[in-house]
Amino acid sequence: MVTETPIGKIRSDDDPRVLLDEQIGSFEPVPPYPPRTERESEFYTLGDGEMFLNMGPQHPSTHGVLRVVLKISGENVVDLDPVLGYLHRGVEKLCENSDYHHIISQVDPLEYVSSLFCEWSPVMAFEKLLDVEVPRRAEYIRVLTGELLRVASHALFQGWMALDLGGLTPILYSFIERDEIVEMLASITGQRMLFNYFRIGGVNGDVNHEFMSRLGDWMSRAAKQHETSIGLLNENEIFVRRMRDIGRLDRDLALRMAVTGPNLRAAGVPYDLRRAHPYSVYPELEFDIPVRGTGPEGGDALDRYLLRLEEVKQSLRIIDQCLHNMPDGPVMAKLPRLLRPRPGRAWAAIEGPRGLYGTYAISDGTDQPFRMKIHDPSFVHLQLVVQLMRGNLIADTMAVMASLDPIMGGVDK
């Protein structure tokens, strides 16, 4: 039994083995222990005229609980060190201890803005493990609801982006659009945020009359509504000049940093999993892949912002086609209640609003996966902030971070 209490810690009243931080909520930028890695010792050594600035973990524009230690010289960021883990829930460990049906509700809160996409890749991986054929109507419903949520997610991105630059109005319009979509989805899933809707082998319940009438109503004015929200910001000179030429990302750096999704396409790489590695019914649907920043210097924050707006138009096209082409039939494959896939491995990846959502699942023949790795695009994109921010102004840190659109729930898993 340990008897000495380390400095800065107190012992829990419930269990004396547990150490608690004495002062919760105070953050010293420099850690109280010697540096453990090359990078850490380099970062925590101050040069001439430099100082540390602690930002977070409760900073309003960090899109969650993220702490960033900035090393600044005057108004310029010399280097930065993101500190993660404030939202870590151990989802992968929980998934290893849940049965296959239960996992869908475990992965839902990973990325709370677009939770259907978090469900989609595990469900696809398990279907590969089980060799299940998904009914075509279910695939169409998945694409339809997924694209609706992509529109909602990009609408929210637009509002956040403006909010991080100090504009309050667009987020109000964003939430009007998002609210219409989540209410629509709530009529078939029963939930506004964590839908828990996809099932292994299909979806939980067919589309109903309320959903269809809400969707038809929304579709009749969605394009116009989108034009309105574009007009709010795209002609705003302050917004455009703040966004231009910050956080430039070129093709080579983007690929080497393992970037995917809109951020990669805004760096000039026409890579979209819906076309590059087709899944579900996407091969049957017509849509374009917008690409920006094809020049040698790549795309900036404005390109990443504009690309997402163009993607919304393509999503509206897909939703329209889904409504017209949706076949009749069942929405669930016939499967036993208790799933025991044969031992094996499966990887499934989908294109979400932020990039590649992947799941690597290993089955050992029991009703729980032996290992489940969840790949979240926000996690990869956040480490890009370090590369893009060096030499920029402090005020631009949040703009660049917002233009990459990370969600901390996905980063911290």
Binding site: L19, L84, E92, F370, K413
Partner: protein, 182 residues
């Protein structure tokens, strides 16, 4: 399933492969030893007819017997995903070379695998814990780390920032969940 890719991989990496090339659904799987990792990955990335430009995922795996590091790669030259399994890494001292020279974006993925499994990626400049607190001593996704039956009563339970100062007790080798064939 991309049969030509399988033949290309078999001829190109005849000396490095430690098992047969397997294909199922839309994935092609190769197995290599940890020592060959850097050269195999550089070939996969650089050679024009392979051209695996994108590292889609990096996952650590504890099979109960040994550790693996599993990489998923994407290339425009093939409709398949390529899964590269680097094994075996001994459970008591797992070490593997880093890929940050080829993909600097692998840095955080390697930090995550280190945090969760204790796999040491030699050459990674920033191999710190990424999710767990810096003075945490165990590796949560290893198979000898069990979830407490009752979170409310366990020393690790509760919503406050808590930590267990002592290393977890050693577990009898026979009580681990394992998949030797993984």
């Amino acid at each position: 399933m991309d049969r030509p890719l399988r033949r290309r991989l078999e001829t190109r990496f005849a000396n490095e492969l430690t098992g047969p090339v397997r294909q199922r659904h839309d994935a092609t799987e190769i197995r290599i030893g940890p020592a060959a990792l850097t050269s195999v990955m550089a070939t996969l990335h650089d050679e024009p007819d392979l051209d695996f430009a994108l590292l889609a995922d990096l996952a650590g795996v504890d099979t109960g017997d040994h550790m693996q590091v599993v990489y998923h790669l994407w290339s425009a030259k093939t409709p398949d995903w390529l899964r590269v399994i680097a094994e075996p890494l001994p459970r008591d001292d797992p070490r593997i070379p880093t890929l940050t020279g080829l993909w600097p974006g692998a840095e955080w993925m390697e930090r995550e695998a280190y945090d969760m499994f204790g796999i040491v990626f030699e050459g990674n400049r920033d191999l710190r814990r990424i999710y767990m607190p810096p003075d945490y001593t165990s590796f949560p996704l290893r198979k000898d780390f069990f979830l407490p039956d009752d979170a409310a009563r366990s020393p690790g339970g509760g919503v406050r920032h808590v930590e267990r100062p002592e290393a977890p007790p050693a577990v009898a080798a026979g009580s681990l969940r394992r998949t030797p064939g993984a």
